[in-house]
Structure formats: C-alpha cells, structure tokens
C-alpha cells in the first residue's frame, strides 16, 4: 500500500455510525411508548406521531447515505453559499415566520411540515466557520502589523475586549463576526433553547486559540447569577470584595503593582455584575424568574414552571434500577409528563428502561461526543477538525441542557434531545450535521480547501 493510495482510500469510522443508529432506534421506541394510543387493537399508522417519526428516520438514513456518496470536497466548496443561505433563512423567519409559544422561529407550511431555520443555521455556521478559520493562514493572533485589529482604528478601545480574549488579528475578529451575526438573529427569535445551543459553537473558538478566560468568566458569572437567587447579594459582595482586596494588597505588598491593579479592576467588575444580576432578576418576566427560582430550589411551584420537571422526575425516579419495561411505564402510558415525546423524552427512557437504560443512553452520548473530538484532532485538514468540534459542541449543548432539565439540574429550557426527541426537522438536521463529519472523517488524510 503506497502513501498515495492510503490518502485516497475512504475509511469510515463505524463507531459513531453504530452509536447514531443505536440512539435513533432506541429513541424511536421511546417516542412510540410516549405517543402510542392505549388500546390493544391499535394499528400502526403513518399519520401518528410515532409513524411520522419512523418515516423521518427513513429519510434521515437516506440523507446519511447520500452524504456518504458526496465528494468530501463539496463541503468546503459550498460552505459559504450554505452559510449565506442560513443567514438569509434566519432573517426571513423573523419577517414571515410563525410565532409558536412566544418564539418566532418556525416556518410553518402545514401543521405536519414545519421547519426551524436555526437548526439549519447551526450546520451552516459550522461549515462557514470551518471554511474561514480553516484557511492556511488563519490565526487569531496578528502576525504582522498589517493584519492587526487596530489597523482599522488605532486608538479605539473597542478592541480591548478582543485582546483580552486573545484575538489580535483582523481575520480573528471577522471569524467572531461570522459567529455573532447568526447568533444575533437567533437571539431575536426569542427562543432560549436555540440560542443556547447555538452559543455552544463558541467552544470551537476556544479550541482554535481564543483564551479560556471568557469561558471561565462565563461560568463564574452564571454561578454568581444563580447564587444571587438563593442568598442576599450582600453575602456575595462581602466575600468577593474581601478576597479581591486581600489579593490585591498582597500583590501590592510584593510590589506587583500592575497585576494588583488588574485584580482590583476585576473585583470591581464582579461586584458590579452582582448588582446587575440582581437588577436583571428583579426585571425578569415572572415566568422566567419562577423557572430560575424553581431550579435553585427556592420555590416549589408544582403547578406552574416546576410541574413539568417534577412530573419528569417522578417518571424517571419511579423507573428504578431496571425500569418498568417497554410500554409498561404508567407515567408514560398515561401521559403524566407534559411534552414527553418532545422535550421530555428522556423521562420515558428513565421510566421504562430504568437506571440501566437511561445510563446506557448517557454513555452512548458521552462516547459519541468523545469520539468526535478525538477523531477531529486526527484530521489533517483544519476544516474537518473545526467542523468536528462544531458538531460535538452543538450536540453537547443539546444533550447537557435536555437531560439536565429532565432530571432537574438545569433550568427548564425547551430544547430537543438530539436524535431521540420527536420532530422531523430536528432529527434530519442532526443526521446531516453528524454524517457530514463522518464523511469528512472518512477522508481525514485529505487536505480540503
């Protein structure tokens, strides 16, 4: 076998394919359990939810097959047109989209045929970013004074935050804009779930060289925000100020004046954030505030915001170690969990398949995510690697938020469990998202432009 033939040969990594098939098929059984009519003489029908879902699984498998027949070069070649299409669809949905449950994120053709452009936008943006950031000369750090961000306006303070997160080149800033434009459009749709899933794409920036400070800062701020619900802000401000000022004093004493000043500034920013989060909490819409309070255990609202989650936890908790068995879950069978076949499908898994089944599903997801990351790192082309990280980040966000919500450790945010929740456009999008990576991975030794 020569070097050359090795490069050309397509080698499919079958593990993600098997994991995908397992998750999809297992998922369908649970959709079936959650939507099957409770009669003994029911007929399998395509006009039911489980029937439609089966149909979509068929379409998705065909789509996966078609993707595998494509030439890998197609994806980088059409990355920008696809990206621009995604942006246009996002813009269009804001104008002509239908409002569903307060968010304007759906194109509704008929009741059965609905399409959420944000699903497509994730794929499109992943391709766009991979294409742009995968260019040979791309770097977040400026390599010459010509591509430094300050070139645009040397004295502008606007660039300070960019420097802080490690972006000093013009193309780095542009990559951020490629991410922020669709993000802003999705934010305007007023769909928290989609926004958070999309935001996960930022993890790719971290992999490609942006400093982790912004992620750490984000986590710290989220923690402070949530703690603010539980305790009075004074109990946050005093320890934060004390630690900050003691640290600064220590640094000043050691004559590290500059780091000391930075610590003082950071402390001030943090305290400011605590005040701000307090203000935000006070000005949240009542239902949003309740959701946060229920999550933090400050409030029990079993009829309102907490009801769905509580019913989901009851279904899961009653499943026990081995579960009640397929089609034997009383909570699933008798529909006690609202939105069970969409957002709360994990509760059907937990009830009927127990800790073993639910654990297996979690393991399958974690394995799939890890596998994508490890394979992404093996790609010769940066395009494939960046794309792989995008896929993993989006799947991760969905998985973490959905399962976390179903077991009551994340806030109630309507977001589907990839490849499991009922919904054709979601299943179809995730299939394409994943199989494009599997296709790219099968040609991982090729350099793609």
């Amino acid at each position: 076998m020569t070097d050359r033939s090795l490069k050309r040969e397509a080698r499919i990594d079958w593990l993600p394919v098997f994991l995908y098939l397992f998750i999809v098929v297992f998922g369908w059984f649970n959709v079936f359990a959650a939507t099957r009519p409770d009669t003994d003489d029911f007929i399998f029908s395509m006009s039911t939810n489980y029937g439609r879902q089966a149909m979509w699984i068929g379409f998705s498998l065909v789509a996966a097959l078609v993707i595998m027949l494509f030439d890998s070069k197609f994806f980088p070649a059409f990355a920008y047109p696809i990206y621009i299409t995604g942006i246009l669809l996002l813009a269009a949905v804001l104008v002509v989209g239908q409002e569903v449950a307060g968010s304007k994120s759906w194109f509704v053709i008929t009741e059965a045929i609905k399409f959420q452009p944000s699903e497509f936008a994730k794929f499109a943006t992943a391709l766009g970013l991979a294409k742009y950031m995968g260019e040979k000369n791309f770097s977040f750090l400026s390599t010459s004074r010509y591509n430094r961000i300050e070139t645009a306006n040397p004295k502008s303070w606007v660039f300070l935050p960019l420097r802080l997160i490690g972006i000093t080149s013009m193309e780095g800033a542009f990559a951020l804009i490629l991410f922020l434009v669709p993000a802003a459009l999705i934010l305007l749709e007023n769909d928290t779930g989609s926004t958070m899933a999309f935001a996960a794409l930022f993890l790719v920036f971290y992999r490609e060289g942006v400093t982790g400070i912004i992620l750490v800062a984000g986590i710290v701020m989220a923690a402070l925000f949530l703690l603010n619900v539980v305790v009075d802000e004074i109990y946050l401000i005093i320890p934060v100020s004390a630690i900050g000022l003691l640290g600064a004093l220590y640094l000043f004493f050691r004559r590290n004046i500059k780091p000391g000043l930075i610590v003082v500034i950071l402390t001030a920013i943090t305290v400011g954030f605590i005040f701000m989060s307090n203000y935000i909490l006070d000005n949240l819409k009542p239902h949003q505030k309740t959701r946060v309070e229920v999550l933090m255990g400050v409030k029990k609202d079993l009829k309102g915001a907490g009801y769905n989650v509580n019913q989901s936890k009851i279904a899961i908790g009653s499943g026990g170690l081995a579960g009640k068995g397929f089609l034997n879950g009383t909570q699933t069978k008798y529909r006690f969990v609202p939105k069970q076949y969409t957002d709360f499908i994990f509760s059907a898994v937990g009830e009927e398949w127990g800790f073993l089944g639910a654990g297996l599903l979690i393991a399958a997801y974690v394995l799939l995510l890890c596998r994508i990351i490890l394979r992404a790192e093996k790609q010769r082309s940066r395009f494939s690697r960046i794309y792989g990280y995008s896929v993993a980040s989006i799947l991760f966000a969905h998985f973490a938020l959905n399962v976390g919500m179903a077991i009551g450790i994340m806030p109630t945010i309507g977001i589907p469990l990839p490849m499991v929740s009922y919904g054709g456009s979601s299943l179809f999008s995730f299939t394409i998202l994943l199989f494009v990576f599997i296709k790219l991975d099968s040609n991982r030794n090729e350099i793609l432009w």
């Binding site: 992999r207 009653s318 069978k333 009830e351 654990g359 979690i362 990351i373 790192e377 991760f396």
Partner: protein
Amino acid sequence: MNETGNKKWIFVGVFLFLGTVFLLKLAMLQIFDEDYKKYANMNAIRRVVQFPPRGYILDRNGELMVYNEVSYDLMVIPREAEELDTTEFCMLADMSKEEFVKGMSNIFDQVEKKRLSRSQPTPLIKQMAKENVATLEEKMYKYPGYFLQPRILRKYPKPVGAHILGYIGEADENLINSDSYYKPGDYVGKSGLEKSYEEVLRGVKGVKNLYVDNLNNPKGSYMDGQYDTTAVPGKNITCTIDLNLQEYGEQLMVNKKGGIVAIEPKTGEILAMVSSPTYDPNLLVGRGIRKNYPILLQDKNLPLFNRTNMDGYPPGSTFKLLNGLIGLQLGVITPETKYGCAGGFVAGGLRVGCHAHASPSDLRYSIQTSCNAYYCQVFRAIVQNEKKAEDGFNIWREYMLSFGIGSDFPDSDIPNTKTGLLPTAERYNKIYGKGGWKALTIISLAIGQGEMKVNVLQLANMTAMIANRGYFITPHLLKSIHENDTDRKVQFKKNQTKVDAKHFDPVIEGMECVVTGGTGRVTQIDTIRIGGKTGTAQNPHGKDHSVFIAFAPVNDPKIAIAVFVENSGFGATWAAPIASLMIEKYLRGKISRPDMEKRMFEGNLMNTVKPPVP
C-alpha cells in the same frame, strides 16, 4: 499547536464529568429515593371508594319505612379542573352561572387557605337528582377534573317515625379522628335506629384501585384488582314498629305535646313510639339537613326532642299499681286489706287529699277509684316494714328497679334513653339528715308525685310487666336482621321482677274495673277486656299532665300502652281515649268510635301551654 491539541482532553474531561454528574443524579432519583415510586402511584392510581347501599328499614309487617334513592354529587378536583364552557356546563348541571362561580371560588378559596388539598375531590353541587344528571353524565368526558359521585339519600314512604328511625348525616371531625372507617363526606347514623344499627345498616365500603391517565380517565384496574375490595351492602333490618299504629299514634298526637309507647308484652317489642310534636323525616335528608336542622333545633316546641325516653314526668296515680304490688309481695297488705278514706289521708299533721268515693276500700276498689289515702297507707306500711325508714325505703326502691323504674335499659337498642328520677336514700339523708326522715316525709311517692320522674317508655314497660304478671323483656326496636336470605331474630333479655305472679291478679282485676266502672270508663271497647289506670301528673308550670296506661286483652295481652299528654288535665280526658283508640286500632285494625277519634284528632292543646322547661 501542541498546546491547542491538548485542549481535546479538556473537552473529553468535561463530557465525562457531565456524564458522571448525570449518572449520579439518575442513581439518586432511581435507586436511592423511593419517594418517586410513591408519587408515580399517586399520579396513576386512583382509589375509588365504592359506597355500599345502606340497608333498608322495614316495619314488623314487612312494610318499608326507609329506603334509598341515589343522588349525585358533582365533584371537582381543584388541581385538575380546567377552564370550561360555563354556559353549557351550567345548563347541563342545572345551575346558574352565579352558583357555579360562587361554588368554584369558594373551593379555590379553601385551597388557597390550605384547608383543602388540590387533589381532594370536593363537592361543587351536592345531591343532584337522578333526572338532572342524565344528560350531564353523557357529557362528563368533556370536563376533565369534574366527575359525578353517586350518593345515597334516605327516603321515607310515610313521613312518620322520625324519632325512632333517626337520620344520617356527614361524619363529624370527632368521629373521623376516632374511627378510621369514616372519611370526610361519609354518612353516618346520627340518631335512632340509624345510629344504633349503624354498622349493620352501612355495610362495608369497597375500594377499587384504578389506573387513570393525566385527564383522570379510568384505564383499567391496578394489579388485576389484587388490592381491591368489594363493597358489602348494608343489611336490611326489620324493626318492631307497626307502621300503621305508629302513623295513627302520630295523627292522634297532632297539636299535642307528649308521647305514646306501645309494647308487645310477651316480646318487649315496641309497637309504636310517638313523640309529639314530631317532624317529617324527609326534612333531614341530604341537602335538607343544612337548612332544616337549625330550624327544627330552634323550634320552641322542641320537635327534635324524643319525649318518650327523656327524663320524664311524675307518673301520678299509675304508680299506685306498683306500690300495691310491693305491698302484696312484702305481705304488708292482702288483696282484702281495707283502708278508710275520708276525703284523704291524714297523719301527723300531714294531709293528702282524695276525691269523694265509697269508703273503706280494698285493693281492687282502691285501684278503680284511685284512692290516695289507700296508697299512703300502703306506702307507709312498706317503709315501716323495717325498723329504720331508710331500710324500708331501700327495699321499696329495689322493687321499683326490678320493675324497670329508674332504669335506662342499658341493654336496649333505643339510643339516649334517660333513667328518669327514682330518688335514693342518700338524697333524703342529704336533705333531712340521716334518720331525719320517715315514711310520711316522702309520702308523695305513694301516689307518684314529688321527687319522682318516669318516662313514657318506663311506664309502658311497667304496664307490659303487669300484663306479663311479673317479668318484662327489655323494650327494644329491632326485630330481626336480614342476613343471607334469612331473618336473624334478635333476642333481648328477660327481666324477672321481685313480685310473684300470684300477686298480679287482684291488681289486674282492679285495672279492669278502672275501665269497666272506674276512672277510665271512657276507654272501654265493647268486648275487648282492657286493664288500665289513669294518672295525673302535677305540673307546676301549668295545667296538669294527663297519663293513662293500659293493656289488652287482659287474658292474653297483645299490647301494653302508656300515653302521656302534657298540660291536658285529668288522665281520662285525653290520655285515656288516645290509649283506647290505639288499642282498638292495633287489635281490630279499625275504629268503632269515630266521634271520639275526631275529637282526639282535632284537639289542640298547644296553646294552653307555657314554654316547656326541658
């Protein structure tokens, strides 16, 4: 590049960390916390209580006195009640929108104040008649959170016997706390037979464990009904009452205060127990209770009060019979003993008046004329039979107790019977000092006046005892319980008195003379041999109470009766004719003296009365 390449381990680490957190949380929910299984069952399994039909009550001839009618409570489960088309719903439920809004806001008010659980089914409308429910029942599926709960209403074909039958009402908090069988909203016998035979009549509730879905629709039985219990219907009971006689007695007592008790002497079975004024038992059924109970309770004539077994009245002259019997048994007199009477009894500065009659009189004649002097002599002889008055009195008292006087018949099934008042030696010791009293001090007991109260039930029982010549069966209301297709007869105790049978003949002969030629001539019914005795109970609050006791036929007693009419004067005026009509009605089934009957029906003694002191 090497540094960024290592970032993959951060990603992998985060994924594994999150997966581990999820598994730990899942283990907590699914393996270590058992509560969720309980909550899941609370969601999906509904305990549906099956209320058994309450047993019927029949009269001694098998005629229905109480039966059931099914009505429906419209129940709402606050947690599950959804917005609905109120116009249509109210039309179907036959209620006004205002009623609906008021009822619902009341229920949610209770929920808000934590007095009611969100998942507790609560009646929105109680006792809707079956006709009103028919259309609603078909449409119930449209109203999740609402359902119809069948309830049993008691019905009375004839509106009589309210005091005997009693009524049922919702179990109160005390009962619910002390007896786990009863749950809020359950019905329980509150008085009368409904109370005495509650456990027989109520049956046993059953439970069905049903799967239900989120809309509370039943979805089949839980665990194939392993934990279900079937409801056991309440048993029918036959009571001792003769419904026709009871009804007749109530008619006779209209517009009069007092009571009638008729007993079958051989069995102690109560044939009629009339307390007047009474009320229509249909008033205290279902929804009516809330409205009518307070009205009846506040009525100054006390219709809820059973006058036949309360503390009672002074027995008056009817008591003389008992004193005669004790005298005979103790041997202080014989039937031939004669005492003179010159318009009364005079001894030691004490005078008890009497009316004009021939003198001296023997026992029979003393009964016939109701001579006060005679019985003062007898009573004095009884008390003085012992050296100490106290000992003599105690012996007398023992006899009285053996006649059922001063007894509340603890083994009877008539609830809330009072003992009346039979004074004790201690009582007199307290008043007069030990040894400070003698026969003459308490001489009014000889003629049934003074410190003495006997209720109508005791009087009737005493009459039955005389008719039986020396014993009585504890008076009671239950004849048999219908079980397994047969009637199980219920036995009550035979009580032997301390007087031998032979002493009864002269007394009974005297009683016959009362009817044939004495104070109770008015009661005579052609060929029926009746033994009777009039009485007048002095009443410090107004006109005297009239008393009459009788039994018939003398040679084979079928009925013993006591009639007490408040504030009606002499026994012969009202009590005796009523007793006589009752006897004729019972023995003959028809009345031969319509004039007398008419006079009794129409007699109104209500307005001659000062407010009674209960």
